[in-house]
Each structure stands twice: as C-alpha cells, then as structure tokens.
Assembly symmetry: C2
Homo-oligomer: 302 residues x 2
Amino acid sequence: MVNNQILAVGSVALDSVKTPFGKADETLGGSAAFFAASARFFSKVSIVAVVGEDFPKKYLDLIQRLGIKTQGLEIRKGRTFRWKGFYDYDLNFAKTLKTELNVFQAFKPRLSEDERRSRFVFLANIDPEIQTSVLKQVKDPAFTACDTMNYWIENKKAGLLRLLKNVDIFLCNDSEARELSGEYNLAKTAQWVFSRGPKLFVIKKGEHGVICFSKRSVFAAPAFCLEKVFDPTGAGDSFAGGFIGSLSRARRLNENEVRKAVIYGSVLASYNVESFSLNRVAALKKNEIEKRYAEFRRLTRF
Amino acid sequence: MVNNQILAVGSVALDSVKTPFGKADETLGGSAAFFAASARFFSKVSIVAVVGEDFPKKYLDLIQRLGIKTQGLEIRKGRTFRWKGFYDYDLNFAKTLKTELNVFQAFKPRLSEDERRSRFVFLANIDPEIQTSVLKQVKDPAFTACDTMNYWIENKKAGLLRLLKNVDIFLCNDSEARELSGEYNLAKTAQWVFSRGPKLFVIKKGEHGVICFSKRSVFAAPAFCLEKVFDPTGAGDSFAGGFIGSLSRARRLNENEVRKAVIYGSVLASYNVESFSLNRVAALKKNEIEKRYAEFRRLTRF
C-alpha cells in the first residue's frame, strides 16, 4: 500500500549566518529541515538525514512539533553538519566561510518499509550518489524531484546526470543551470535538461523569482516584493517545500497545478526570508499562506 | 491647442557593438532613437536631439520612414555622438569601451511651438540639466517621464533631484535605483523616490523583467523568455517607448493602464533585443505586438 507522504532526503544542519541585519550562531538549518518546514502545510513529510550527538534537543523537539516524521533522522556519533556564511547587501549571493560535513561524510541511508512506500520523493541538495541510492529504495513513487548545487556539478557530474535520468522534476538556481548545461540562455538550458530526463525544470532566481519550464510551456513568477529580507538562507528549499507540497496535494503534474505550485513555493520562500533559520515558517498559519497567495495575484495580474 | 504627441529628448547615436553572436559598427542607436522606434506604434513621436554632419543619410531616412517627426533633430557641425561597447554571455551588463559625446557636449535644445504643445514628454537618459530645460519649455503636458544613468547620479545628482521634483514617472534600472537612493531594498527605494516627486517608479531589471511601483500598488512582470537574445542595446529605451506609448494612448495613469503599459514596454524590449540596432523593431508589425502581448499572459497567469 502506498503512503501519501513526501519523503525528503537532505541535510539537517547547524547554520551560523551573518546578514546586514544581524547574526545567528548554530541555528537550525539544512536543506531537509527548510524543505520539510514548508512542505508540512500540504502533506505529511518524512525526513531522511543524519545529525551528530551534539544536535540540540530543542531543535529535534521543534522538528517533531512541526509534525515532521523523524524516524529516518539518524543520530550518529560525531558532530552535526555545519555551515557558516554571510550575506552582503546583495542578498542574492551567500558567501560561504566554512562547510563541515562531519557525520554526513559517511551517510548511507537505509529506508524503512514505511519510507519505501512514500508516494512523493524530494531529493534535496546532497551528494547525487546518496540521492540515487534513496531513489532506488522507493518502491513506486507518483513523482520524484531533485535539487543540486555547483559543488556536485563540478565534482560529481556523471553521478548527477545518472540521477537526472530518473527524476521527473529538476530544481536548481540560474547559475547552476548555466554551469551544468554549458548554455547561457535559460530557454536553451531547459531543452538541454529535457534531453537528460526530467519533464519539469524549475529555475530559482532568488529575488528575481522563478522560471518553470515544461516541455510545452513556460511560466515565470516574480519573487514577492518585501520591504525587509532578513536572511535568505533556506529560501530555495522553502520554495521546494511549498512547490512539492502543493503538487503532492494536486497529485498531477498538469500545467495549472504546476503554476499554482510555483506560487505556493514562492509564498513559503517569501516567509522564510523574513527571519533567521526557519523561525518564521515554523510560526506560520495556513491563512497567512492563502493571504500571500492572493497578494501574488495582485502583484502579477494585468 | 494641445498636440497629442510624445516629445522625446535624448540621444541619436552611432553604436559599435560586439555580442557573443556577432558585431555591428556604427549602427543607428541612441536613447531617443530606440524610444521613438517603439513609441511610434502608439502615438505620434517628435524627437529632440542633435547629430553631426557625418550622420549617415540612410539613418535619417530610416527614422523618417518610421513616421517619427524630426523637426527637432538638429544637424550640427562636428561628429555624431558615438558609443562603443560589448557584452559577454551575461547579456544583462554592457561594458563600455568608449563614449564620445561630440556634438552633444554643446546641445541646448530650443523647442518649436509645435513641440512645446506636446501632451506627453519623455526625457530619455541625457544630462539632467538638458532634461529640465526641455521640460520647462513644454506648456501643459498631461504627464512627463524621465530616465537616467549612473553617470548622472554620480556627477549631476543635485540636477537630477531637481528634475525628479517635476516629473510624474521615473524609470531606471535596479542598480541605478540602488545607487541613487542609497537603499538596497527596492520597495524602500520606491518610498525614497516617491518622497522626491514622481508618483510612478519603474525599475527595469533586464532579463529579470520589471517592477513598477505606484504609491498604492506594486506590479511585477518577467522579461519575455527568448531562445535568442542577440543584442540587448536599447532594450531599456524600447521598453520606455512601449510603456510611454501605451500610456499616451490610455491618457490616464490608473493602475490597469499602467500594468498594460508595462507589458507593452516588455513586448517592445523583447523584440528589440532580437537583432542589432533597431532593425527588428523597425520591421515590426502591429499584430506581432498583440501576439506577444497575448504570450505574456500565457507566461504569467496562474
């Protein structure tokens, strides 16, 4: 029997971030955490990740309080994955000061029977070999999606291309799309991606919004226009959470549902950047999501 | 009696441009030329500019063949304004190799009686003192708009601020907006601009589209998604041509008309970048404009 949940593999991390508006040390972060905090509004989410014994109990409690399933969150001897970075006024570009993989270096997820029966799969940014190994363990997903980053494009390109053959939806940002395809023009980049496997290609452009390509159509959505962007960390994963979450509820990848999903993703990302870590999204109410969805209509209709 | 025409002051220039896709020497360019070639689809356009005796007759013929009024195009002893630049694959940023003001250095436009009665005024990117002097000569415009560039922000800021007090619509690109206001966040930049005079603020973001702020509303439009961007030179002025052109036909600055105008501006800009100089826009048909306007709906609706 299939399980109507989203399985998300990725990182759960401790982030130290400085922005022009403040700083935060060792707050809860990681692609799976940001993703799940947003996707939970739409479907049950089960995360697959690893943390060290030093992972603060308050963060584990928070994740569980959000209704996220943590059976697949392994606690292992050693230190939790850490990322340290900062942003200048150009909040579209994170500058990394330090990345410590720690317990993630030897991460080999083995899914439980419950996890294998997940209907929807999101492979957040992580080593493509791990993404593939998780994908293979899932029995009969309705659709699968993955993200990546420049590090894997540069160091594990063959593995990433093998993965792309087997996913339905590929998400990445515009510079990653260009680096991977070797093509500057994004419409041509989309053709390149379609020739590699995926049937839906979502390019995240941060403050410039999102372009979503299907084989027959293009949809462009601006980012929400905020007076205060506090910390952009996790915006891309929050987007993916709202996007995949919305699609998991729709269950079909038709054009209308995909466009709605892009807007829900943009709504969640816009809330995420209003505070450090996933604080704002953790406190978010469903009616606030619908309110901003309506505001996106006002922002874009003509 | 008021004259239902758009008066456009700006440059008419000879551009030498290199892009990753080819090069063109001494082609017709300049802010007033690009603007007028687009705005002519909506209203009569009268340009005020200066060229040198070396200005090729074929370009003068072309401008006139497009139906643009050239009584205010002064031909003066000396060389025409020249710009030489190139683009790398990141077509959003022009690199200037050389700017020769030539006859523009001593340009002091004196409007004819016909020009003074223009109902709509566009002050394209040019010295703000010249923009102001033109503005003062127009008798009773329905609305006025101006553009600028970083050079004037850095060297003639006081003059630019004086000008802003007296225009209804201010257009510039995102980096200019940030430089002028000293504010990174674009929503805050808009508040800053409104406190200086204009009631409509249009931020051009090249391949990332346009954000248009009025005091009570925000509208965001993506750029058209093209497989081939050949030469971005003049895209901003083509946008302004479609935008101001559309508003001149609407005659009112209400929210719906402003949004339509942003899309017409984006349509004209998208055609302009398909070839060197204003070749594509010069050959454009009205039904092609409406066709792409409809495509913008498909690109953005959800």
